[in-house]
Amino acid sequence: MGKLCNCSRDLLANQDREIQKLFRSYSPGEKEALIPILQETQGIYGYLPKPILYITSEYLKIPVGKIYGVATFYNQFRLQPVGKYLVQVCAGTACHVRGGDLVLQALESELGIKSGQTTQDGLYTLSTVACLGACSMAPVVTVGGDFHGRLQPKDIVKILREYEIKE
């Protein structure tokens, strides 16, 4: 464990500046840095690429299995790449009682994917979150970080169109 596979060697060689900078801001073996490093990695790539997990393992001296355990424990982390726009549907209580699941269904049928999947063209990844903290405008959906509130299933097509026009 902790041995670098070839792909991660390549990646190390080509490490872009951002990743180098990221590791430099933590000292080797600093175990409490694990979650922040994973968060920043995801900030750069949108998900956690496997090679980076190996690099992190070597750097922090934490077995890869443990890192995998942490990465899968927390809802925030994704091990698969995401589409250009991350569509987050709130599944919190306030949104639920105001019809959030109908909005989710509308998104699923419009995009032709289930929550957790990415569209074939790589434009959208659909996911649900526990609460976006904007409960007073329930039900809420964010697309690429923009908030859309007080939604009805019929609003979905119009919203998605906005992003498609941008493309």
Binding site: N75, C90, G92, A130, M137
Partner: protein, 641 residues
């Protein structure tokens, strides 16, 4: 700003700033809380700025809370130089999100609601220049039709008592100066001239109880940590706010970050800690951004760091971002998460007060708890206790959401009744529908029925009816909400978030969810209800942490108060609220049916039969309740029963 080297210098600075600020009383505040931003408030703000500049008016404009995270173009020094005219300022969320985008005009206290881009020009022309109120934009009470122009006269605000939220929506959270003008860090200054024990005694005397859910006396917790052995101690602020449907802590961290810092520094001084962590939920990047700015500002002037305000006391703060796990709100799991591990709770004792972060004695309190501490040290325990009820003094914030006219963030004295909150502050239930229940305390809490409307909301009264204040989420449900489905929803949530350590919590919640799913799918049996109770009680007894100990609460309380509704589901296969799609039955009204065959042609499973020009009928056994026939029928002949 220059370094503040003593309490005396802090006081001098405050007096000086107060003088400057009174000259500058007129302001336009554009709310830029998440809700208002989604409604376009950033464009409204830009339009104000543009038009003011274009017309050469001596009016300054700022946003209330910059939710876009960062590069906004206002400049504190410049803004504060204005001695006349209007200042357009930025602050935290006003709380009245249902009416956004909001624009407030000070000092006249005029609140404009549902402001649109096109209204800006008129507001400038009529209100700012001529001093006229624009009727169309002021608040209309949906129940009485009465129009109210002044913010503090709107029923939503009138019944509230904003102490912990005093600054939220009223000051620029990115300005230390504004915090100091509003008596900020005065509590810390008062603490530093007392002995640490005197500080703890004051907090004990105030009767402050933790706002994170449990209601444990804060002073006691501090006392335990103070006497615990160890040279190194920590203060942790729990900003995980895991209850889906609650956003009070978010609003405090985003709207008044210095208050949280002040509360933590006072705690640090009292227990002898020189380092602290603020653990913020992953979904709150704006809170992280604001807190970072506030910490930096406080360090620069010597309110954080070494020798605070010229005393021996030193205190440093770090921010840790959560990664999305409900259980990390539990204190021992949160500590594990800060240490970089999976956030799994460990048995207590030892309590964090003795063995917390990296084995050191640690105080861990909720955001709102810390936000109350400066009030106690600034104005005294008696002032704090002057509102609330004897066993639960002070105020409490709630996130009021669901089927209620005025959703938003509120703060009321402990002991306020549910009726006052739902009907007076919340403005009742829209569309003349019937009140059914309030879910309080999120996935760990319980529901309160019509019979409980006059119950006082405080820690002990709620416990006596099987609910809890929890973090303070209040979700109002009306006759169109299916209680069984809501119970299933909460069980789905906790089942998903169970960390998997305790067998009863891990497996038991799964089984409870299966049963509830079966009931809403129309396959439930009468025995299922007793089974749910038995499972629920067992899970409560056999789980290590509060997650498992409280997970069955929503099911148990709804079973207690709404057993009839459960019975209808299992015995008669009827969902009274008409929510559970599996229990819907479609019926063709023979009077209305013209025999056009359209429904039969649209039915995907061939459940509808009938000849042309004759009344059609639905085979309920074949019907999958998709509703396609309802949409297809041109004569409104198909109804859901």
């Amino acid at each position: 700003m220059e370094r503040i080297n003593s309490v005396y210098e802090l006081n001098q600075l405050r007096d000086k700033l107060k003088e400057e600020f009174t000259k500058n009383k007129q302001r336009v505040l554009v709310c830029a809380g998440t809700g208002c931003v989604a409604g376009g408030s950033l464009d409204i703000y830009a339009e104000f700025k543009r038009l003011i500049k274009e017309n050469g008016l001596n009016i300054d404009c700022e946003l209330e809370e910059d939710s876009c995270g960062g590069d906004h173009d206002h400049n504190h020094d410049q803004a504060h130089k204005h001695e006349t005219g209007y200042k357009v300022a930025k602050s935290g969320c006003h709380g009245f999100c249902a009416q956004g985008p909001l624009v407030r005009i000070e000092p006249d206290d005029i609140l404009y609601t549902h402001v649109k881009l096109g209204d800006v020009e008129e507001i400038i022309r009529e209100t700012l220049v001529k001093g006229n109120i624009i009727e169309r934009l002021i608040y209309t009470n949906p129940m009485t039709g009465e129009k109210v122009a002044k913010e503090h006269e709107i029923p939503f605000y009138k019944k509230q008592l904003r102490r912990a939220l005093k600054n939220c929506g009223a000051i620029d959270p990115e300005s230390l100066e504004e915090y100091i003008v509003n008596d900020g860090y005065h509590g810390l200054a008062n603490a530093l001239i007392k002995t640490p024990q005197e500080v703890i005694d004051e907090v004990l005397a105030s009767g402050l109880r933790g706002r994170g859910g449990g209601g444990f006396p804060t002073g006691k917790k501090w006392q335990f940590t103070r006497i615990a052995e160890g040279d190194k101690k920590f203060i942790i602020c729990n900003g995980d706010e895991g209850d889906p449907g609650a956003f009070m802590d978010r609003s405090v961290m985003e709207g008044d970050p210095h208050r949280v810092i002040e509360g933590m520094a006072i705690a640090g001084y009292a227990v002898g800690a020189d380092e602290g962590y603020i653990y913020v939920r992953a979904e709150y990047p704006m809170a992280v951004h604001r807190l970072k700015i506030a910490i930096k500002e406080a360090e620069e002037v010597g309110i954080l760091g070494d020798n605070i305000l010229g005393t021996e006391f030193s205190f440093r703060l770090h921010i840790k971002e959560g990664a999305g796990a409900f259980v990390c709100g539990e204190e021992t799991a949160l500590i594990a998460s800060i240490e970089g591990k999976r956030g799994m709770p460990v048995p207590k004792p030892p309590f964090p007060a003795n063995k917390g972060l990296w084995g050191c004695p640690t105080v861990i309190n909720n955001v709102e708890t810390f936000a109350n501490v400066p009030i106690i040290l600034d104005k005294g325990a008696d002032y704090f206790k002057s509102v609330g009820v004897p066993n639960s003094p002070g105020t409490k914030t709630f996130a009021l959401t669901g089927q209620v006219a005025n959703t938003g963030l509120i703060e009321v004295p402990m002991g306020t009744t549910l009726r006052e909150i739902v009907y007076e502050i919340g403005g009742g239930i829209p569309g003349n529908r019937e009140y059914k229940a309030v879910q309080i305390g999120g996935p760990s809490g319980g529901c309160l029925t019509e019979d409980h409307l006059d119950i006082q909301l405080d820690f002990d009264s709620l416990k006596s009816v099987g609910a809890m204040i929890g973090s303070g989420g209040l979700v109002v449900m009306d006759e169109k909400t299916c209680i069984v489905e809501v119970a299933r929803f909460f069980m789905h949530f906790t089942q998903n978030e169970s960390c998997g350590k305790c067998v009863l919590c891990r497996e038991g919640t799964k089984r409870m969810l299966e049963i509830l799913q079966r009931i809403v799918d129309g396959d439930g049996q009468v025995e299922d209800l007793d089974l749910l109770v038995e499972l629920g009680e067992t899970i409560k007894d056999g789980s290590l942490c509060g997650l498992g100990k409280t997970a069955p609460n929503p099911v148990l309380t709804t079973l207690k108060y709404f057993r009839d509704e459960y019975m209808h589901h299992v015995e008669n296969k009827i969902c009274d609220a008409k929510v559970c799609s599996a229990l819907k039955v479609y019926h063709i009204d023979p009077e209305k049916c013209k025999g056009c065959t359209r429904c039969a042609r649209n039915c995907p499973v061939g459940a509808i039969s009938g000849k042309v020009k004759q009344v059609h009928s639905i085979d309920v056994l074949k019907c999958i309740k998709c509703g396609a026939c309802v949409t297809a029928c041109a004569f409104d002949a198909i109804e859901e029963v």
